[in-house]
């Protein structure tokens, strides 16, 4: 039985043929020709349905499907406008350059979900990638740098950004306006108004570098987000600022930032684990509310206190030394903190 599916952009053919050698098949020339004609017709139809469409100029990509750049593009204003959901754009190593206005790739202000944007560079626009009305996007292996506003801005939830570089943009490197996004292998450096800013809950930032931004390195505005195995350094504001409860910083370094290394200023139940916070102009780790938890953390040479936390809270193997202020401030709010293996003279 031959099954051909044209639902997907690529034609998928699976063959399930009897494998015993006893089947006796007789093809007449007419039947062979008919079969070949039918197959060619189907393949032709499928080719259109799941087209790999070459793109050699700025334009609206109006139909779902796969598009690829055949050359570098330059634009005044918007370049590629995604005009439907389920559009994939492979830049194939090419560069899209703007004149400081518009967006390199945009949804045009309409919801165009499930986009994939991969494998190229975008620079010189207002926003490199602007999916402010869309979500559920994947951006992979993309460099969106040197734009006047944001490198990448996405408005709706549930996006994956992997191996994305957003350096030297005028505003934020990556701005996500909704929840539930996975960011890994991000480079967000030298941006004008913060490295990564996420406005809602439940995000992960893994294996990333966020350095030398004006403003806050990583800011997440709601609960339940985790920064893991990342380096956040030399930003002019806080290194990591997590503005609600139940957030975690794991295996990360926050150093030489102009504000606090890790700032958890407002609510309870935040966690810092196996991390370093050194040489920040503010507090190394600042818990603004009780129930903070620390494990395996080194805090040193910050220009204010090492760790400020309200009690109740818990620490294990906290080493806080050589900070300009107090190495550990534990303010009893409504009960004691528990500390084991504390080294904070």
């Amino acid at each position: 039985m031959l099954q051909i599916s044209i639902r997907d952009p690529r034609v998928r053919i699976t063959a399930d043929l009897p494998r015993d050698g006893t089947m006796n098949i007789e093809f007449s020339a007419r039947r062979i020709v008919a079969a070949l004609f039918t197959m060619l017709l189907i393949v032709g139809l499928c080719g259109r349905a799941g087209a790999q469409t070459g793109v050699s100029s700025c334009q609206t990509l109006s139909a779902p499907g796969n598009y690829f750049l055949t050359s570098n593009l330059s634009a005044s204003g918007d370049c590629l406008v995604i005009g439907a959901s389920n559009v994939a754009i492979d830049l194939k190593g090419k560069t899209i350059k703007g004149n400081g206005s518009g967006s390199g790739i945009t949804d045009g202000g309409s919801a165009r979900n499930f986009a994939i944007i991969a494998n190229g560079k975008i620079s010189g626009f207002s926003n490199g990638v602007n999916l402010e009305a869309s979500g559920q996007a994947i951006i992979s292996n993309l460099n969106s740098s040197n734009n006047a506003a944001d490198g990448v801005i996405i408005g709706d939830c549930c996006n994956t950004l992997s191996a994305v570089t957003t350096n030297n943009n005028g505003d934020v490197g990556i701005a996500l306006l909704d929840d539930d996004s996975s960011l890994s292998k991000i480079q967000a450096n030298g941006n004008g108004n913060g490295g990564i800013a996420i406005n809602d809950c439940c995000n992960t930032l893994v294996g990333s570098t966020v350095n030398n931004n004006t403003g806050i390195g990583v800011q997440m505005n709601h609960c339940c987000s985790f920064v893991v195995a990342s380096k956040i350094q030399n930003n002019t504001g806080d290194g990591v600022e997590l503005l609600s409860e139940d957030n975690g910083v794991i295996g990360s370094t926050t150093s030489k930032n102009g504000g606090d290394g890790v700032d958890l200023p407002t609510t309870e139940d935040n966690m810092v684990v196996a991390s370093k916070s050194t040489g920040n102009a503010g507090v190394g780790i600042n818990f603004g509310a009780k129930f903070g938890i620390i494990s395996g953390v080194m805090v040193s040479k910050n220009h204010s206190d090492g760790v400020d936390m309200d009690c109740r809270g818990s620490t294990a193997s906290l080493k806080s030394q050589k900070n300009s202020g107090t190495n550990l401030v534990q303010t009893v709010i409504d009960g004691p903190c528990a500390n084991v293996n504390l080294n904070a003279p």
Partner: protein
């Protein structure tokens, strides 16, 4: 305002100060522990010798207790808890540096929150290695191997589980997180009966971990949306490698190969796979309910086909199927 203090006034003040000092001192002093018992009041306690017990051994009797086992071992007779909160709801606690063996539950903090457990090996207990019961908590550099039922059980939301070794536990599985928003990072979860990492609410994350050769699914995050598996190896499990349900699940940079079920199974809608590998699984490489998006998926040699999609349309780019 004029204050006049006579001798009596000074004496009372001095007595008051002394009383406060002695009342406060026990809470702050490091207290040696050489026998099973209750640790109260708040303060730092440290173990001076190995302990053996019939039933519970150490009972945390107050919030603000830290307990340093100083590399000693607490051994039970297969019943009770090695370290327990005794049913108290304590909201700060720190436990570190030792081994716990052969209790029913190695560490059982069923009703306490805001706990940190670091550098502890709670293995070979008859039921559970570590049980933490109330939001939030941190387990860091914790080993829970060869326990009779479950390695690590987190009963409510919001734990950071970092650098765990959770292997060879019983039919209950490796890590069980029944609430939302738990991150399991940099951990190894292998050869457990049942599921390697199980989550039962939204927003549970498995990051940079190895979850292999468990008898159930490798990673099974169900009931609610928005679970992520990032940078992990989820291989050779007897169920699905990655099994995520209920919408908005994201798999990125993950190798889900050689599993007896599907490599990656994503139900619900709005799922994504990015830069992942799913080879040599007995089911499908990836079985994804759409709409969603899939890019950079390599899926080869899977008995159930490389990629199966259902529902709406998944955008696909640069997959090697």
């Amino acid at each position: 305002m004029s204050l006049e203090r006579g001798f009596r006034g000074y004496a009372l003040a001095t007595l008051g100060a002394l009383a406060l000092f002695f009342a406060a001192s026990p809470a702050r002093a490091d207290t040696a522990v050489s026998a099973c018992g209750t640790l109260s009041p708040a303060g730092n306690y440290f173990l001076t010798t190995n302990l053996t017990a019939t039933g519970n051994c150490i009972v945390i009797g107050s919030e603000g207790v830290s307990f340093d086992m100083r590399n000693h071992t607490i051994t039970g007779n297969g019943t009770g808890d090695g370290i327990s909160d005794g049913g108290g709801h304590f909201e700060s606690m720190a436990i570190a540096n030792g081994k716990i063996r052969n209790f029913s539950v190695g560490i059982g903090l069923d009703t306490s929150c805001c706990v940190v457990i670091r550098n502890v090996d709670s293995s070979k207990n008859t039921d559970t290695g570590v049980l933490v019961g109330t939001c939030c908590g941190v387990l860091d550099s914790v080993t829970a191997n060869n326990n009779g039922t479950v390695g690590v059980m987190a009963l409510e939301c919001c734990y950071s589980l970092n650098n765990l070794q959770v292997n060879n536990n019983g039919a209950g599985g490796g890590i069980i997180a029944t609430g939302c928003c738990t991150a399991s990072a940099n951990s190894t979860v292998s050869h457990n009966g049942g599921t390697g990492v199980f989550g039962n609410d939204c927003c549970n994350f498995v990051i940079n971990s190895k979850v292999q050769q468990n008898t159930g699914d490798g990673v099974d995050l169900i009931t609610s949306c928005c679970n992520f598996v990032v940078g992990s190896t989820v291989a050779l499990n007897q169920g699905d490698g990655v099994h995520l349900t209920n919408d908005d699940n994201l798999v990125s940079g993950t190798n889900a190969s050689g599993n007896s079920g599907n490599g990656i199974f994503l139900s619900g809608t709005d799922n994504q796979i990015t830069s992942s590998v799913a080879n040599g699984n007995q089911g499908a490489g990836a079985d994804v309910q759409c709409p969603g998006a899939i890019t950079g998926l390599q899926a080869k040699g899977n008995a159930g086909g490389s990629l199966t999609t259902s529902g709406g349309t998944c955008t696909q780019l640069n997959n090697k199927l």
